[in-house]
């Protein structure tokens, strides 16, 4: 996923991020519920926006990540900045969830991420890796 992200345009990169985050959200929601997960995402986004102001249009609600406002600006963002920002969100989300659940959910979330990465991978490149 990291490799794929390196050369992808911002829109495609963000699509990949949304798929990845969505997979984690769905898995975590089963166990933690909307309210808890929304609160955690709210914290993660708040912290991410402090460090990467370009991420401030992202919002959390009971369905997960709301990115309508962000998508309007995504095309104009520098890919490196975007890559760093969404990487921060993923890592921070996993970290906070890990802290709060004593890492009980972490393997399952990593597994979800791996599935998304596998789906996103170009067949030829996947074979190489």
């Amino acid at each position: 996923m990291e490799r794929a992200a390196k050369e992808a345009p911002p829109e495609r990169l963000f699509d990949a991020f949304e798929r990845a985050f969505g997979a984690m959200w769905r898995r975590a929601r089963v166990t933690l519920g909307d309210v808890t997960l929304t609160a955690i995402l709210d914290r993660v986004l708040y912290t991410a926006a402090e460090r990467f102001p370009l991420l401030s249009p992202l919002e959390a609600d009971a369905t997960g990540l709301r990115s309508d406002k962000f998508r309007q600006r995504a095309g104009s963002l520098h890919p490196d900045q975007l890559r760093e920002g969404i990487r921060f969100i993923l890592v921070e989300f996993l970290t906070v969830l890990g802290n709060l659940t004593a890492e009980v959910l972490t393997p399952a979330l990593h597994s979800e991420l791996a599935k998304v990465a596998a789906e996103d991978a170009v067949p030829g490149e996947e074979a190489k890796s």
Binding site: T36, A39, D42, Y46, V96, A102
Partner: protein
């Protein structure tokens, strides 16, 4: 689940409180701190905040409608935990009052989270959350609000304390209590005649915790929790050591004699007795002797002030002041009205540890626990006291007042079950005097003396007079008497009758009618020893030394010369001043000090005091005989016989089995006069002549004359006198 289960902890900074959660509040806990107004909720929360606050560990303190922040800060500044420098950098106070009044619950929640996001605090306090409760229009709204706030605070990994005037009813009905992770309640009520504050943890997710009530106080230092049930527990190391062999000698020689090989370290002994039996003096002497032996000691006194205890010690001739000055003894006086059992238990533990005390006296445990009505609680507190002693590997003497006329061993009747030993002090009126007694009632893992032992309190302290000699309790019996080692009697002709003299270390009873010559015989026995440089001790119970010397002089016996040379000593023990039960100890000390080899007790009959039975005298004589033998002394005990002529009874009182040898002196009627006679009734391990001989006394002392039946003495094979063989 334990402290190491991986859940990070927030230390409260409140003394002994963390122990109730096995190390502190689980990090991220959302806990309710409930209790009525004035219970100490705000102080507790603030103490926790100030303990943790720093630029890295920030605290958000939300005030609601309950108390203006300005007042909170003003009162807060009086506590020692308050640190002005932590305000803002560490702790931020936020007043939610206006928002609550104008915007309601939802906006308040948003505002709280807005601050949380900005500050990213480790700890959040809402004081009071009950004010938010009251603004909720329904249970549903309150539950939703509480749940969402709890979840949001959880998401930020903050530890939150929600304060409120919650009562026990709220535990069942308030939806908030099912949302939060922990519930701590503070309250106060009357216990043991006093208003006391208590803290209780009803619920705390993520950790084991105590569920009991624990008392606490609020001082200028803040809150101090007392939880001896949790904080005072027996250490494994101490448990093992107590079962081991390390023992302590009290330093009082005769008490140590009674206590066998010593008191195992870590043990506690109850010193039980009614008022005036010597408990305080015993405890004080225990400390004083310990200090002299280089062992530090501490006394917790609840009745006698330090000055009074010092004066008591001075009155007994002890330089306790010096031991206190050089740090060997500490006196901690706690006035009875000021006793707070749980608080003082912890204080005692600290003082014992700080001093490194090897000896701990509590005087008295019955006063210390006097407010406690429940015997089981008294038992628990006594156990905790004993635990302090055990963990310190010290020895404890806990005085306890027994109710008058009771058969109990302690005030509450349960304390003796948790201690390792009981020393019972009693007193009784005898011959118009009150006599004190000591009994080692119980001492675990130790072979100790049994029975009651007389004691007196006087200059030097407690003087115990053991009923039984320590030597008699020795594992090995004294070696048998050797027939080749004999002590000559000093009475011409008598040794032939005895088979060559008295066996060394033997005990001889001389039973005789009044005025027949028992004392003379005893004096000659002593003086014969003097000839062989064997120190002799003449113990007189009837006559003083001057009279004895005069008697000897009248018989031309060189007693005065022997006394002058230091080879003979006359000791007068007045029956009026010395109790029968004290003789054994007094004579033991004397024999040890003088290196006595021969001893005369004249007469043993005078040991009898009013109320003493023949059986008691027999036991006493048995004790004396055993002790003399054990100390290597050849002894001669005279006994007064009421019979002038009769030989039916040897000793009147049936004391024959006590002695190795028995010599009977009786009068015989001759025409116009009576004449003393002597018969050897019994010798152990020797042949002896069973004939009755005249016993003449003249200048130079007594001597054996002819047989009263006119027959020739029965000569032995050696030609010195025929002896009848007798099985030893």
């Amino acid at each position: 689940m334990n402290e190491n289960s991986g859940v990070a902890r927030v230390k409260t900074g409140v003394r002994n409180l963390d122990a109730l959660f096995l190390g502190g509040l689980p990090k991220g806990t959302v806990a309710v701190l409930g209790g009525p107004p004035g219970a100490g909720k705000t102080i507790l929360a603030q103490q926790i905040c100030f303990h943790n606050a720093s630029p890295e560990t920030r605290v958000l303190y939300f005030n609601t409608l309950s108390e203006p922040t300005a007042k909170t800060l003003r009162y807060l500044s009086q506590f020692q935990f308050f640190d002005q420098t932590k305000i803002e950098a560490g702790i931020q106070f936020v007043d939610l009052g206006v928002i609550l009044r104008t915007e309601g619950l939802e906006q308040s929640s948003s505002l709280i989270m807005e601050h949380v996001k900005k500050v990213k605090p480790a700890i959040v306090v809402v004081d009071s959350f009950k004010a938010l409760d009251d603004l909720a229009e329904s249970h549903q709204e309150l539950r939703k609000f509480g749940y969402e706030l709890a979840v949001n605070l959880m998401a930020w990994e903050t530890t939150a304390l929600l304060l409120g005037e919650y009562g026990s009813r709220d535990l069942e009905t308030n939806p908030l209590f099912s949302v939060v992770d922990g519930i701590l309640t503070l309250h106060q009520r009357e216990q043991s005649g006093e208003q006391q504050r208590f803290i209780q943890i009803s619920k705390m997710r993520g950790t084991e915790h105590s569920r009991d009530e624990h008392s606490f106080i609020i001082t200028s230092s803040g809150i101090e929790v007392f939880a001896p049930r949790v904080t005072i527990h027996r250490e494994d190391r101490a448990e093992r050591s107590t079962a081991g062999t390390e023992r302590l000698k009290t330093g009082s020689s005769r008490l140590d004699d009674l206590l066998g090989e010593g008191i195992p370290l870590g043990s506690t002994l109850l010193i039980a007795g009614v008022a005036g039996t010597g408990k305080t003096v015993l405890g004080l002497e225990f400390l004083y002797r310990g200090a002299q032996a280089g062992e530090k000691g501490i006394v917790f006194s609840f009745e006698e002030t330090e000055e009074r205890l010092r004066a008591t010690a001075r009155g007994l001739g002890w330089d306790l002041d010096r031991e206190i000055d050089r740090g060997m003894v500490e006196i901690v006086f706690i006035p009875q009205p000021d006793i707070m059992v749980e608080a003082h238990l912890l204080m005692m533990r600290e003082r014992v540890q700080a001093l490194g005390a090897r000896r701990v006296v509590v005087d008295s445990v019955s006063v210390f626990l006097h407010k406690i009505k429940d015997p089981q609680v008294a038992r628990e507190k006594t156990f905790q006291l004993a635990t302090i002693v055990q963990n310190a590997q010290a020895v404890g003497f806990f005085a306890t007042d027994i109710p008058y006329g009771s058969s109990q061993l302690s005030r509450f009747g349960v304390e003796e079950t948790v201690v390792d030993g009981v020393i019972l002090l009693t007193s009784s009126e005898e011959a118009f005097e009150r006599q004190r007694y000591m009994e080692i009632y119980k001492l675990r893992n130790t072979a100790h003396s049994k029975g009651r032992h007389n004691l007196i309190i006087g200059p030097g302290g407690i003087n115990i007079f053991p009923r039984y000699p320590a030597e008699s309790a020795a594992e090995k019996p004294p070696p048998p008497m050797e027939t080749s080692r004999r002590s000559l009697s000093g009475v011409p002709g008598l040794d032939d009758l005895l088979g060559g003299g008295l066996l060394e270390r033997s005990v001889t009873l001389v039973s005789g009618s009044p005025g027949i010559g028992k004392t003379t015989l005893g004096l000659q026995f002593i003086l014969e020893g003097v000839k062989h440089n064997e120190p002799g001790l003449f113990v007189a119970l009837e006559e003083g030394p001057a009279q004895i010397l005069k008697t000897a002089e009248g018989l031309a016996l060189p007693l005065n010369e022997a006394v002058t040379k230091g080879l003979a000593e006359i000791v007068f023990l007045s029956k009026a001043h010395v109790r029968a039960s004290q003789f054994l100890a007094i004579l033991t000390d004397k024999i040890r000090a003088s290196g006595t080899r021969r001893l005369v007790l004249d007469s043993a009959s005078h040991l009898v005091t009013e109320g003493m039975s023949t059986e008691e005298l027999r036991l006493l004589l048995y004790g004396l005989a055993s002790q003399f033998k054990a100390l290597g002394v050849t002894s001669l005990l005279t006994l007064e016989s009421e019979a002038m002529y009769s030989t039916d009874s040897v000793t009147d009182g049936g004391f024959s089995p006590v002695a190795d040898n028995i010599i009977q002196l009786r009068y015989a009627q001759v025409p116009g006069a009576i004449r003393p006679t002597l018969a050897v009734v019994k010798t152990r391990g020797s042949l002896h002549d069973r004939g009755t001989y005249y016993f003449d006394i003249a200048k130079g002392g007594a001597r054996i004359a002819e047989r009263i039946d006119g027959a020739a003495p029965m000569r032995s094979k050696s030609g010195r006198g025929k002896r009848s063989r007798k099985r030893a």
